[in-house]
Symmetry: D2
Subunit: 316 residues, 4 copies
């Protein structure tokens, strides 16, 4: 069983959106296609029930169903977001998905935390709740979560909790934070930790150069993320930037707060992976103008990356 997360984990963990049917139910067929797609394009893992997975819009039973379905279907390690308003619900979900074969869980800090000590205490209690044998990912996403963790606080959390094996890094700006953490390690102040970057991949080009181990994000072309990470790991700097820059206009468009998930689902639908781009309420939909903009971005991207050459949109 090589499926448990470790501090050596690297590559691209795709943040999977949750596909819905027009009637609001979970679209299992699309979820299966998505699961297979991530493996086919070279992702090294999948993360389900993240913020972008509309996890809070699922009830407890649905959330568990989604996690189990992906775990059963995929040979990749699966990380499950278990952030919850309280530790009892966090423990219930974490226990169930680890039993189902998850590789680890991901925990984000609740927005009420302010001081360094509050943050450190929270994660110690979270580990008490889920059990210290469950590998977990620390999510650092201040823009959405409003909780600001300094590199020193992150180091305290990692030091306190041996089961914390990965940082999902999505501070913005965040390049100096990667450098600071890697410097801590060089100075012996921090044990090895995997750093996968989020934020839609908006700074992945430089994040790799600063010492990240890969990406954990949901951009609708995970194949590009895989290639950029591979180029960077092989030291092919120009190739990495060239490919990244070609995608940046679309990637930036997808990386809009609130609207981003609609863009992502739309592109995944256009790529034939999802049957529809339906979201559960509350949701921001795409106007006709927005869809036309995405089509323009895809067409322009296709000149550089053939994977963006899609059949003309139908009723889109």
């Amino acid at each position: 069983m090589p499926r448990k997360l470790t501090e050596q984990t690297n590559g691209v963990y795709a943040i999977a959106p949750t596909p819905f049917r027009q009637d609001g139910g979970i679209d299992d067929a699309s979820l299966d296609r998505l699961t297979d797609f991530y493996a086919e394009v070279g992702c090294t893992g999948i993360t389900v029930l993240g913020i972008m997975g509309e996890a809070p819009k699922l009830d407890a039973a649905e959330a568990l169903d989604v996690a189990r379905r992906v775990i059963r279907r995929s040979t990749l390690p699966i990380v499950v977001g278990v952030s919850a308003p309280g530790f009892a619900a966090m423990r219930s979900l974490a226990t169930a998905v680890m039993e189902a074969g998850a590789a680890g869980v991901m925990i984000a800090p609740p927005p009420t935390l302010r001081t360094d000590d509050q943050i450190v205490t929270y994660f110690r209690q979270a580990v008490e709740a889920i059990g210290d044998d469950v590998p977990w990912v620390l999510q650092d996403y201040p823009l959405t979560l409003t909780v600001v963790m300094t590199p020193a606080v992150i180091a305290r959390i990692i030091g306190d909790n041996p089961s914390c094996v990965m940082l999902k890094h999505e501070d913005w700006p965040g390049l100096e934070k990667i450098s600071a953490l890697r410097a801590f390690q060089k100075d012996g102040k921090l044990r090895p930790i995997s750093i996968l970057c989020g934020n839609g991949g908006l700074f992945l080009d430089f994040e790799m150069e600063r010492g990240a181990d890969g990406a954990m994000t949901g951009y609708a072309f995970p194949d590009m993320l895989v290639d950029v990470v591979a180029h960077a790991r092989r030291g092919e700097r120009e190739a990495a930037h060239d490919l990244f820059d070609a995608h940046l206009p679309l990637l930036r468009y997808e990386q809009q707060q609130g609207v981003g998930l609609a863009v992502r689902k739309y592109v995944l639908m256009r790529r034939g992976i999802l049957a529809s781009d339906v979201q559960r309420k509350p949701a921001a939909g795409l106007s006709a103008a927005a869809k036309a903009e995405i089509e323009l971005l895809l067409a322009r991207l296709a000149r550089h990356d053939p994977r963006a050459q899609l059949a003309a949109a139908g009723a889109a």
Copy 2:
């Protein structure tokens, strides 16, 4: 079945804390005692799974168990807090507790809402989710929830949703809001609505005079709230203020953000209702100094209100 909430509902709805055992499990015996106690002292209803009921610290199954137990045991109408990060979980809980015999549910706005339209839309979608036949209470608690609703926005929500029958009013300051809503009604701009006041009861003396129908809060002497509401409804102004003022030093002490629940559970334990004052993590405990302060406040209160004459604290 007189147990469904209506816009005529009045009196005191006690916000029930959730009693825990030392091992963290739910203390059913204390919960039963608490349920009986509220009826004995004259409460007209009970609210479970509110913010002060540590609802987010329960998992889905526990939450439902607590609600069902109180509903089964009590002859009073029971309101159940169903606020959730998403509508699927809200619907699951609302459906289950209404089937179990709840009188209605209570919904608070999520902290991400900012504009008037976002707020109004949220509650329309919430009603779509739970069904428009479920009587519900709109919770207006900006201090904790960070969502600010003007009287006009509250009136829009009530106008949009016939199943909204009550406002849990706990804006601070909030007296003018009661007056504004009652003035809307006088002008025919708002249909009848029950207004029960929260905020620990800190302004109950004047809230009743401004037109509130009662209280929905968790002060550890609900018997005092019952008497103040009764005095006010009978026009016994001096008596209402005299009793209220005697309790104010303790009430104010209990109405401290974060610490308040610890005070409340401690006093309910000292009154013999709860077996212990345990909270689930994360929780703020009481220091020895704090306990001594509460004992002083109880002793001073006992000179005015014999209900505060308690046997000396043991190991407290």
Copy 3:
């Protein structure tokens, strides 16, 4: 010149409101009366240009005029609030008021600060800006400022900056913070520091027992604050609580966010100190109902404290 603040400072520092004329100009005559009044009732100092002094509503020249006028007129030490969006404006005002004879300045953290290090760094830079020879008061007011400082962070700030001689303590809840800081001192981890409490005085009864040196707040009966502090310092516990409790209904009414200043100015007007209760925009005024409630509270208070026996309100 005993007028500089030190870590031995104690008693009551009145937070002075800024009196305005009906035409919006500063009412110098009322400001003079207020200055004299504070000395007559036993205050040991005055704080001007605080949040409750409507400082942000004054332009730079007016702010300096108010501070200079009070400094010139009073024999009491005067603290001047110099919080500003940037250090240049802070330095300009601090320099000017210290030259005019102020006893010290008060600095609140800007609401953008989140991490412990950000907070500590901010105050170090503030001291660089104003000069390390200016005695200053650290304002800790999370409810309004949204910046949360642990006792350890406060100790770091005090340790870093010898010119920090006082904490204006108005965390809520805040009793344990006083105990924690005094325990740090006992353990030799913190040098002596004056602690004066704000928050409208809502917990002054217990704050004194926890080790506070007095109050710095603006309750419209500073004479009561003076007496409670004196009783507490003499160990007259019952007398302190009796007087405090008699004022609590009014004090609580005044301690409403936003509305509080209107109540305070109204009562100071009713006591004959201010010519009017005018505030500059944006301001929350008092409705007729609110004024009647204050009159009731004054009448009830007058049974216990003759200082509240005021002539009937005129056109109020």
Copy 4:
């Protein structure tokens, strides 16, 4: 005097950073060079004392000096940011800069505003304060200011205040907001209004297509903004996107919260406009790694846009 802002204003208004000397003083020579540079590259106006102009770090006298210097030197219309914690300071600055010849002022909402009515009232009072004959720009920047204005609220503000002639649009995401406002105009619900877009220009390609009149932002290549706006106004869609996309990797790098200004000043220094990239405290500086990243971005950009061909960095 064609220098007053009107609802027909268009093109590119450069947000000017404030240049400082190594000793912290204002660098007048750089400020003059910058003023001239903006005119030379085709900007149609300049905005000083914006958020990115470090306005809060200047004291009142310095702020006025900067505004007057730019107004005197330039033949372009100058907009001055007058946002302030209170209306008195706002009026003082607005009056002084309009007397000095400013084209108009810019006002951002304070972060305490929450409800639609609070926002609308605030701007009505601001106009009372500065005088209704001063043309002004409404700044809509939720990411930094935390105030969310719907299109309907913006329309109310514009409807209430004839002197509001421009929207500085920097909501994110914001494309639909432009479309909604233009649709209001088509439906006769909104009078003509100039819309210039901020947000570092991150969506300028599509903002122009949605109906914006230009840009008001501080990207270190305002010449690119000028060209993109010109292309868009002439309907040269491909040319607009090609140029924009070539700049996007650097533009995105500059558009990092907090760090962005350091990047901007560094590039302007590298272009020979500013003598140094010094900021006043508190400030985020650039690490050596960050400077190397910017140099890479400049070198890559230079392949597409010769204006980015700069002499090798010296001590940078």
